[in-house]
Symmetry: D2
């Protein structure tokens, strides 16, 4: 496939996901950032909203509004960093202008508008597009992403959970009916929401479970796991908010098949991810630590068979804003354009 010159727009660029997209695009060796939009920052320069980009010659890019016709005069790739519920309509307007769309919201992650309504509490705004959307997990759907016009980037928790679980389920190493997961997330996972719960003095020196028992990300995790097993999977999942800026740890308790040992787990992972540039297999020697992945697009995966309980324990670490959000979106862009998958991400 010939490399496509990509001119990129970021719609909703004033949140944490948008800021990280901007950072990655400014440093990308091939793709070019040509437009940013944000309702609340309209009219401001990029370097006013994000002083950290003050040195860049794109620093004087002005935040405009999300007019698809205007933006697609210059841009052929559009990243949507908008709240769920808002994204669906906007995506449609850009697709109608022949842009390829990479959506970071939850709006196109689910194949079923009904499940969307169950978990997100409102009717889907563009259900006709759902079957066209590709779930943007490169480790699972690289080929489909490459050809997609509408990519739905996974949520941060799902990314940290699906990459470790999919190969184990595919190779039938674990019982699909007995999966228990807890995750820990840094506060940027909540976005730049100006709510009392996310004030510094409410989060610092605080740890708390939340979203119990039916966190929205369950819907896409279960959809993707079920896709592999061809049967409906229900999992147990409790996330926690902890006082750090970035990073997710997911700890998964699994019931392995009767003769499964650590060597077989290793073999399955090595086979599944031997060509994946962002999956690092730590084995059972070393446990993941968010500080080893923060600032990167890597996922670190450890595993241990607990001889006392017979359970297989899988632990993973990612940067929620990079591999969990914007880095993964760039990885999708690279696939869509025929760039090296790691372009701008190492």
């Amino acid at each position: 496939m010939p490399k496509e010159q990509s001119k990129c727009a970021v719609i909703g660029a004033s949140g944490y996901a948008g800021e990280e997209l901007v950072r990655l695009l400014l440093a990308h060796p091939i793709a070019e950032l040509v437009a940013v939009t944000s309702r609340q920052s309209a009219g401001k320069r990029l370097d006013q909203v994000f002083p950290r980009f003050g040195h860049h010659n794109k620093g004087d890019l002005l935040f405009g509004d999300a007019d698809a016709k205007k933006i697609t005069k210059n841009a052929n790739f559009v990243f949507l960093a908008l709240p769920h519920g808002v994204s669906a309509d906007v995506a449609k307007s850009f697709l109608d202008c022949d842009a390829r769309v990479i959506d970071l919201s939850a709006d196109f992650r689910l194949r079923s508008a009904k499940v969307y309504e169950e978990f997100y509490g409102s009717k889907h705004a563009a259900p006709a597009l759902l079957k066209q959307a590709v779930y943007g997990l490169p480790e699972q759907y690289a080929k489909e992403i490459a050809e997609a016009d509408l990519v739905a980037c996974p949520g941060c928790y799902p990314t940290s959970i699906l990459i470790p679980l999919l190969p184990l389920l595919r190779e039938d190493l674990i019982d699909a009916k007995d999966i228990t997961i807890t995750s820990l997330s840094g506060v940027s996972g909540a976005g730049r929401k100006v709510e009392a719960d996310y004030l510094f003095a409410e989060c610092n020196e605080s740890a708390r479970p939340y979203g119990v028992p039916k966190h929205r990300h369950l819907s896409e995790i279960e959809q993707e796991l079920s896709g592999v097993t061809k049967s409906l999977i229900t999992i147990q999942f409790v996330p926690h908010l902890i006082p750090m800026n970035r990073g997710i740890i997911s700890t998964m308790f699994l019931r392995p098949g009767p003769d499964v040992d650590e060597g077989e787990v290793e073999a399955v992972y090595k086979d599944a991810y031997k060509s994946e540039p962002f999956v690092r297999l730590l084995g059972n020697e070393r446990l993941p630590d968010t500080k080893n992945v923060v600032g990167t697009n890597f996922i670190d995966i450890s595993w241990t068979l607990d001889a006392r309980t017979g359970r297989l324990i899988i632990m993973s670490a990612i940067d929620n804003l990079i591999k969990g959000t914007s880095g993964q979106a760039i990885q999708c862009l690279n696939l869509m354009c025929g760039y090296p998958e790691t372009a701008g991400l190492l």
Copy 2:
């Protein structure tokens, strides 16, 4: 029982548990702190080692050495805040001098010297004392603690786990064979160990599982749970270190009996803990947050029945250094002396 005038010594007072004991004893309305010891701080004044006690008239107490004969001339209660393996011998020397001993190490928590050796990797130094020791969990052993000469205070994780689980097992509400727990702990849980792993820049902006799959605290958790069910219980447990000074969250996934609902869980808890001054039942309305218990001796407990999976999710929060360590030790002292159980703790 008449109130006993307690003159207290803290052996090994220069760690976090010791410092917290000193703080609580200095503010205690009845008990009196009469001696502190520490090998590394020997000869220094209390206010030199802990500037925060600079205003107190006990600030000029000198750190001495742990000579049982000398110390028991003035002290009739002795707190041991020593590393496991060291405590056993020292406890014996104080018991021989007729002091009542409250041990914060792991040395007397297990009834079996063999299990101790399995989990702590060395022979027990005073196995004959094991059957004399009382496990210092006031919510379970108040009567035994009151009469004990040797109290073994529980570990911090076990405290956060046993108080919620014991009543459920006692009333047979959950399956004892299917218990999965993850905990999150602040860094003070590691003690004042001068190791690279606990440096600020290694812990801040870092989250990590550790002690996988066989953390030492498993031994006492399983012992106490098994004591209630009269059968050997093996549980699944993974702790995580997160960037805050204090606090533990434990999230427990349980398999309830066929007709158990949230109302029954509530009834069992209310019955079990109606007279317990430090157990706060949050029900299923509110989730625990370490910031609501840090600085206190309370444990907050929430529960939710997950209709999708059928599991009962229990979540608890404590201050690892207070309810998890030194506050609980003072609670034991209060019981041993016939003081109000909350003396010096509210």
Copy 3:
């Protein structure tokens, strides 16, 4: 003076200062909390707004509205934890009902309505009350506070600066015209304001000067320093926001008189503060650290004469919400009621 039974109301109790007042009053051995108000929490129970008070028998106190007539039926002491500009009117309504008022806002700290307008940008709402108000710094105005009906508690920065500077100026040890100060404050100093600047991910791993060059607290600092020297003093002051919940460090650079040495500084401090229960003099051996004062009403003060520059360097540490705000307010209450000055504060 006979001890006055104080029934206390906290107006505006849902911010950090209000929460801390509630905490201190609930634990106070003599004073009683009888009412709390808050526009945003009206109708809620105290333990719903502040889960940490869930165990207290006052936990079911309902947040009402700030009706002076109604509240003063039960309360004779009223704490105002309201924004500046709002407090002045409310204070008047309570004074008219014969309550004694302890105001934590800036509204009554300045003796001049004109200076108030200069620094706070709006006309003063009750200028007639200004001459009646006493500046609530017990180390300077204990006698006046005892008899006052309207006490204006100092700001947090001024507390950390005035206690060290006043004796040096009073004894003429330093040049009043050459005072340079920087302060560092934890984020709770900004209050529970729901603004993007105070979100966790904006404050964590961030340090920044702010309020440059004319922070509002300058007005009261200069007023109080000028009161001692009988000449108008202008000082240099830059505060910084740093990623911790609580605590202030103030570092002051002073020009000492020709023969002033550290011994003289020490003598002046010892004389000035020999009976002050909350001033701890560290001398030149030990530097202050916020962690030694957080959770307490103490101020720690260090001093060093820099032989290279000839400057006297004074450094102080306080807990901004206790000695800097609510603890100091309770200290004022104790003086107003004839209680021991330390009641409820040790």
Copy 4:
């Protein structure tokens, strides 16, 4: 100048400065990392010591020992990330093998062995090399660095202070005799020293001045300022340790000449730094914040003339480990090799 192919060794690579050098060299477009040494990590692979480099094909580089002859067979550039006092000897051994040396310790920053002894408390080990060494501040000594065989990289505080002060002194805008500075630093500034003072629970929720009144960095700051004014300058400086991983804020109080205004300050800065790729001038509109520079090699500089006091206030922000240490060292390497000054740093 033709570009020199640089093969780089990092001596003492297991500390924070060394780790950051490794990270920057692994990502450098031209320079190549060929050797790492560390006494404590000898024999280990790079990815074992620093799991974050696990994906890199240099991950299996083995930590060796600092044998100059062996190392210079492959390396022609040597970075020394060693403690002061150790570096001098090692530098000599590498210079004797014709390597060009970039030293990150304090050993070659001072031109006078006597001043070194005064501030560092021990005799200098290689005083003959002092006059050969170039102070590695590219904004001041770019030409000299390009030709040097021995570069002494500045300390982190000096970098944050000298870049703003040098042009003002050079153009005689400020009084060289009245300079007062406070700085705030993240904890990584102390290095990976395993000392109780730097444990997480001792630094988190703590702020403290230290190194009062004669911090070692004063010696090089005063040397460089004096070099510009041709007179001996003594400054006032107090650093503070605050709870974050990285970043320095320096706040400087200066006495401007009679007619100096903000416009003149701006003009001087713009002239001095118009071609400097890493100096960002924020003017008086925006104050620096460490979070805008962390992870980058930039220094952000703000200025304000305080109309009330007549003082000029300059505030700067850097990442202490990048512009303050290892990034600046790479900037020096780029100059020494004739690479673009920003190679590997944007």
